[in-house]
């Protein structure tokens, strides 16, 4: 029994890493431009579909990866240029709605270009339990999940270093702090926003490939974004660390709840449990785990 609990918990943690990966895309853009980018889920879908579509056309893994990366970066830059820039200084809700419109557009485009069939995506990692752990402790841990978690960890570390060590990263944080002050000290705002969107496109690609390999490349990938939202409120919209920790909490509790509470209430509680968890959590800490505490004055 205790082994089973551990197995579920670890499986949940590892899938939580995948949630964090999607949430990361949200955080990046929210931090830098204050836009709550609902289209991130569609970008994930678009990236995975483009990659699979290209490999189906006979491109090798590496070439397809590079081409998709270029496509995603261009897509990010185009979104910034065509959608977000004309909407600068509009109320946040307008920007949010624009990204919902954008998600419709991207979903339509992706399926128009590559068709709506469900496809498999093979990354060459077997989805099987790791033998020596299973033998030693009786706990099954998927090799694939572990790899996905490792990739996510590398990505997060790289982004963390990028943000804290490089010149562009510092400029990014300055923009996130205060647009006007950043402009005043000579940081090219629009260039920075372009970079953020390009990076978000890249993160979407990684998330899309991992999720696509796990669940198949299909329209349901766009719903991954909905799973990332409770992660965001748990962790705080502005925090990369929050996205990671939030993802782990959501992944773990959701699986545990589904396995141990689900059967008593008819199942299917995975869909809303993270939200209710996040809601209850917010009542205690309104700004999330790592969100910035806002001091309100008149």
């Amino acid at each position: 029994m205790i082994q089973f609990v551990f197995e579920v918990a670890i499986g949940g943690l590892l899938s939580g890493v995948m949630y964090s990966l999607v949430a990361l895309g949200f955080v990046l853009i929210y931090k830098a431009s204050g836009v709550f980018n609902f289209a991130q889920g569609s970008l994930v879908f678009f990236a995975a579909l483009t990659f699979v579509g290209l490999t189906e056309h006979g491109l090798s893994f590496g070439v397809a990866l590079v081409v998709t990366l270029v496509v995603m970066v261009i897509a990010g830059l185009l979104i910034e240029r065509l959608v977000l820039r004309p909407l600068v200084n509009q109320p946040q809700i307008s920007l949010f709605m624009a990204t919902i419109g954008l998600s419709f557009f991207i979903e339509g485009l992706a399926q128009l270009a590559w068709g709506a069939n469900v496809r498999g995506l093979d990354l060459g990692i077997q989805d099987e339990p790791i033998a020596w752990i299973a033998d030693g402790t009786g706990i099954n841990i998927s090799k694939f999940d572990l790899m996905a978690a490792a990739i996510a960890a590398v990505l997060v570390t790289a982004l963390g270093l990028f943000f804290s060590r490089t010149r562009i990263g510092r400029a990014l944080r300055a923009v996130a702090d205060d647009h006007q002050a950043a402009l005043a000290v000579g940081i090219p705002l629009q260039q920075i926003w372009g970079i953020v969107w390009a990076v978000a496109g890249f993160v979407a690609l990684v998330a899309g490939m991992l999720w696509g390999a796990r669940n198949g490349v299909q329209f349901a990938l766009t719903f991954v974004a909905l799973k990332a939202l409770p992660v965001l409120i748990l962790g705080g919209f502005e925090s990369i660390a929050g996205a990671i920790v939030g993802g782990l909490i959501v992944g773990c509790t959701e699986k545990l709840a589904e396995v141990f509470i689900g059967p008593h209430v008819g199942g299917g509680i995975e869909g809303w449990f993270p939200y209710v968890l996040a809601l209850v959590f917010l009542l205690v800490r309104p700004e999330g785990l790592f969100g910035e505490k806002i001091i309100r004055r008149i």
């Binding site: 307008s94 949010f96 965001l232 917010l282 309104p286 309100r296």
Partner: protein, 358 residues
Amino acid sequence: MLYREAGQFKSSYAADSAILPIRQDRIGLAIILAVAFVVIPLTASPYLFSAILIPTLILALAALGLNILTGYAGQLSLGAAAFMAVGAFASYNFVLRIPGIPLLLAFAGGGVMAAAVGIVFGLPSLRIRGFYLAVATLAAQFFIVWCLTKIGWITNYNPSGVITAQRMQIAGITFDTPAEKYLLVLTIVTLMALAAKNMARGNIGRQWMAIRDMDVAAEVIGIRPMRVKLLAFAVSSFYCGVAGALFAYAYLGTVEPEAYSLDLSFRILFMIIIGGVGTVLGAFLGSAFIVVVPIFLSISVEFLDNSLHLGVPSSVGSNLQLMVFGGLIIFFLIVEPFGLARIWQITKEKLRLWPFPH
């Protein structure tokens, strides 16, 4: 020239606080109401009723509800469809379990039930705001729809989950044909829109707007945030609940949880953004836009396909529609972030001078 208030004097407080202080507005509204109540029922085809007019009116009512919450009270919500679902299922159960209950009372009961649920899910708004609240309202969306699917008592243990709505009958009159349903919906929506307009410009509406604009300042001048916010949630959910009941009874003819998906919530949010946040008129304009544009797009794709013999597969057509729809929304937000209601305001300003330049 055509639209000028010069020469119209107000000689009493009642005239000063009228909903429509300008004569042209009154005439215009009278014409619109006359067309809606008399001309359209006599002339329109059943298709026009059931595909465009009825859903436009019902969704306008839901948009009105969301506009009260989001537009006037400033609490962003992504769960409007869930409250519609509560209204629909509560009405269904009232009609089912209380024999002889008047239908309108059942609809109102559905609204009250939705309001009660709305208050519960409005409680977090006392602590959190902005996008945190928006995501929190998603909890309502998923949780309520899950409850409606899983709890057998609500659906009267119907195995398929799709329930046929009871016949609509009020005071011995049945509402079966599209034209009759349309008139019923139109009457309810008109009355509730009038109520919303009066709430918005009265004491409650001003309190909502004060909370929206700066809640700390509003609190300082003696507005109780808890009461006002929860009232906004209650009123908004009541409107959504009645709209949801009408949606099931007058439009779909069935009561089913799947009809009230997240997608519908987003569509209602689109309506108020495209129509104009914080306006009653905007709810109607936005609703008409969101209902008509997809129909128009699908007809035009079909028309192009047939006339040019392109042989476009239907999946391409639907994806093109999705793209155009998304693109249009972005376009509208960029061109007119304050919505169609603002375009109407600008037009009115222009009409004051027209055809003279000054």
